[in-house]
Symmetry: D2
Subunit: 338 residues, 4 copies
């Protein structure tokens, strides 16, 4: 089986590098609108083939799967052609520019019976896999809140605001870890330079007492990538800026004794050990590439399928709508019907 | 002149300790409903006098000023009596349990022509005074955003939610540093234990492109007290958990060249030096005590007057209302008219 | 039983505060050459008695134990009088100004059959007690090295160099944790201002492959208090500047497989979990005060007895000698015979 | 002009990558004993030429300069041949396996009138260049001490102890920044696994009151790369593990007033601002490659010449000797005469 990579900008070459060495892949074929980028990739990875049109990829019977790493605005058009050609599809995050586009992609993949995977890369990191494992083991208990900060002095994107650029990462992590469907989204943001929002705060509401909150910012003098997860038994801090010990699990919490409210009953604070589990260092994209090939070969569903990609796009879309309406809470149910 | 301290719980003894050594204060008189607390304060500070009724304070002609460090719910009643007796008043933060109460106190003080000061202690720290100085010097430029995080594993308060307990500090700092009137407040919070909210996110909206945002949380495994202030020229990080170098000023920013939008024009990122100014270590409360006495003696206005206290209470009140209404933005103008 | 405290400088009032509330202590008696210091302690702790001469302490039959917190140069003279009067003795660290003085104190206490304890305070902290427990459990394995850094911008002492001032703490921790007798000491130091050494490096040699090393410095712009303990199974980092998680245990190490040298055989690096045990927060001095009283009442030996104090003084003395001789290694056996 | 790179292990490919894009270099020629490594470099950098024998490099008139990145034990033999062929030479650090070898290389280069440069890479980092600039500006004042820690869980080297592996970096930084000749070296180390020393402490003595000290360790659970430089006016902390703000300059110090010793006179502690200068991010090796070509073309001396390389090797050699002799201070003058 061969794998094709479409789009050789920032992320595409990483896909090439990983698929080249993935077991089961007999060849990697590349295409980009800019011939210079194809020359550069051939210099760096002499074994890759390049083609001059998308058509060549769509009609090549040896190409089983196609990874699309082009700008988001083109995901739908290219993706639909790939699916139309009956090929398995891996889309960069965010999956599409709107929930309508994302839904059409999901439906097309379903009709064709091919794999539709979305590259929510962080899901495959040792850190997120370990937190998932801890949550599933029951050690963390019930999730009380999910708080994320991803800020730095950032490159302004030409085609997206800071929410689509940065929050997509954290929303995909939240989606994977929490596993429940949110009910609504509210967001506020500011565009200081008359373009897209360069900073924003998102709140994701669940039916339960659970809140998820996200701070994304291209105007921060310091770089922060930190997620706090409050659990009823233990609490997790995931600090991606730490060189080691990125995930810390605190045996801390609040216990309420007695039947009355927490303010009348005896509130007890537990302050126990802290524990930083060893994390697998395998590159996330290596695991993703392996999984995509495995799904194609064995008909397995990917960890991040089209529905997961769609649900993240819905939140992004709702955040945009909320920002336009001054922070109004947008119910995801109304959005789905649109 | 003598100073009276009413309420000897957690904060009152700190007021006693500072007023005892304040120049111009000839004696400190204490009162608390619990005789045990008065005994304890006399043991620790043998020079203080204690009285058995509030009446004794109100009628003592030697007592010029009264500091009230009782629970918030009693501030209005006690404060009105103190003002009614024509004495200068220092109220613990938050100033009162509602904006209506706060406004009555402001009006009463004005009518009597006495000093009404509010103990927004952080305003008097070396860190906040230095940031104020930097802002006034123009070095920071225009404020683009104000982001605050104050979280830890906290004691649940019996009479207040986490917003009134923790956000008061950061709102008072914001009020002092930004100096503009906000137009609206939105907030979401969760009460995990059927009592008051134990975590909350507040957004304070200004008429301009400016946003202020606050994360307060009693359920965090780690203690964070951090404020980011994005300026058009420089950016400030105030990390109160640092043992030294609490305030860092980054010569970083975004410059837009050309007339078109930031996405078309040449965006330039400046990454310059960082600078951590030396901070005055004088205890904040020492400065506040000195100032209160100075205001009484020389008729000066305090740095945090009744209006400042009222404006912070308005935001707290609006946050409560917003949380009740699912995060709806509350315009402060509507509140003021209520 | 009453306890007497001699010397009310920096540390004495802490001893007073703790002995006052120690069970079994019926009264605390204080003495200092400066009457002002006695007045101040009476103001702060009205229950303490003060006396005007050392004689009054030595002859008071109610006083069972005496804690001496005077300058080191006076420990021997006062301590010998206390022991001569048949009273139990607690000496501040370092125990004495020379090993000869320390040995005489040990012998006098032994002859009189009274308790001789030395206030190596750090031994009683939650952090050091936890590390001791981990070492005794065998989890750390064999100790490979002990590395300590204690540096800051420090107050120059009038009567001691930086080794006697700062390294005493770390040497006492090392003595307690390692439990083996060192064989030699080498040290280099510099006196930049023509007085005592203001920075120094000490190496403590053991008969085994074990090295202990200490960096002490009054001229560091940053404050560091960090101990690394390399074990054959696990490694410990004790960072006293951390607000929480002061002790971290790393499941990291080097395993050598095969019979040949580490360079030929397969060296395997283990990188496992990290673990920060919860530490007891009881004030170290509270535990020490309790222990001293317990030793007096029940004839138990203290955790830090005169021999422990003597052994630390021997290392300090050897370090001074080594610094005078350009870093020459001083064998402790030669010193003991002196 | 062409540049040849000999040795394609860990470091060689970095030299290749940088020389390929250095202005003035028309081609890069590679040689390694292992054909596989040459195949790999050709795949990664298709433009490089490879040769099968050293002879081909020595006799190619187009090759002006040769960079040697082979194991240290071979530096002398290969380097002498390169110099013998009249070619300019860049040697990896440490320059040679003994001071005798290093001196022969210096003399041979001098006789042939060619450039002899040593790759003390850290000298070319933005951090070290900035510290050098601060020292030369006089802002730091006189250097009081130089303290370095470079520890981590390290790979055991087959042909070198931890001093030759790690301390070489810090000694080269010290040599460059201090600029004075040391008078002696003492060192202690331990080999826990019957091979080379895996941890060591070095002290470098200067004629003045200045001490330099180095802790290197392959058995540390945490990675530390930190240099403290105490100056009479300001103090510098260079922490290479920081993502940003690697160099911090503290306006802190000790001032002695009066004529008497620091203990009698008024010692004043200055605690002023801290300042983290912006650092140039250019890759160190890029600057080194440029400089080597510039030296060849324009007959300039390199920043790190053979004498600098020799002086660092002398300290390494003296450290080995000292470790063998139980930490005895080795005078560099005796070594030079050997």
């Amino acid at each position: 089986m061969k794998i094709a990579i479409i789009g050789l900008g920032y992320w595409g070459p990483n896909l090439v590098r990983n698929f080249i060495t993935t077991e089961g892949v007999d060849g990697v074929v590349c295409w980009d609108l800019q011939p210079k980028k194809m020359e550069r990739i051939k210099k760096r990875f002499p074994s890759v083939e390049t083609v001059e049109t998308l058509e060549e990829i769509l009609t090549d019977p040896e190409i089983a799967g196609v990874a699309v790493a082009t700008p988001v605005s083109t995901h739908h058009e290219i993706g639909m052609k790939v699916l139309g050609a009956g090929k398995h599809l891996l889309l960069e995050k965010p999956m599409a520019a709107s929930s309508r586009e994302a839904r059409e992609l999901v439906e097309a993949a379903s009709k064709k019976g091919v794999v539709l995977a979305v590259d929510h890369t962080f899901i495959y990191t040792g850190a997120v896999r370990k937190i998932k494992e801890l949550l599933e083991s029951g050690k963390i208990g019930e999730i009380l809140y999910f708080d994320s900060v991803r800020v730095n002095l950032g490159l302004f994107q030409h085609d997206a605001n800071v929410v689509w650029d940065l929050a997509t990462h954290d929303l995909s992590i939240m989606h994977h870890l929490i596993g429940m469907r949110p009910v609504g989204v509210s967001a506020v943001g500011v565009s200081h330079f008359n373009g897209h929002e360069d900073m924003a705060y998102l709140t994701v509401h669940f039916s339960d007492k659970l809140l998820a909150h996200f701070h994304v910012n291209w105007l921060s003098p310091v770089k922060v990538r930190k997620i706090l997860i409050g659990g009823s038994r233990q609490m997790v801090v995931y600090d991606d800026m730490e060189a080691s010990d990125k995930v810390k699990v605190y045996d801390k919490g609040v216990s309420v004794n007695g039947e009355e409210s927490v303010y009348r009953a005896l509130v007890q604070y537990r302050t126990g050990d802290m524990f930083a589990p060893h994390l697998d260092q395998t590159e996330a994209l290596t695991l993703l590439a392996r999984e995509f090939v495995d799904c194609i070969q064995n008909g397995k569903p990917p960890a991040v399928d089209g529905m997961a990609g769609l649900e993240v796009v819905q939140i992004l879309e709702a955040a945009d709508l909320s920002m336009k309406n001054g922070g109004e809470k947008i119910l995801l149910s109304t959005l789905s019907e649109a």
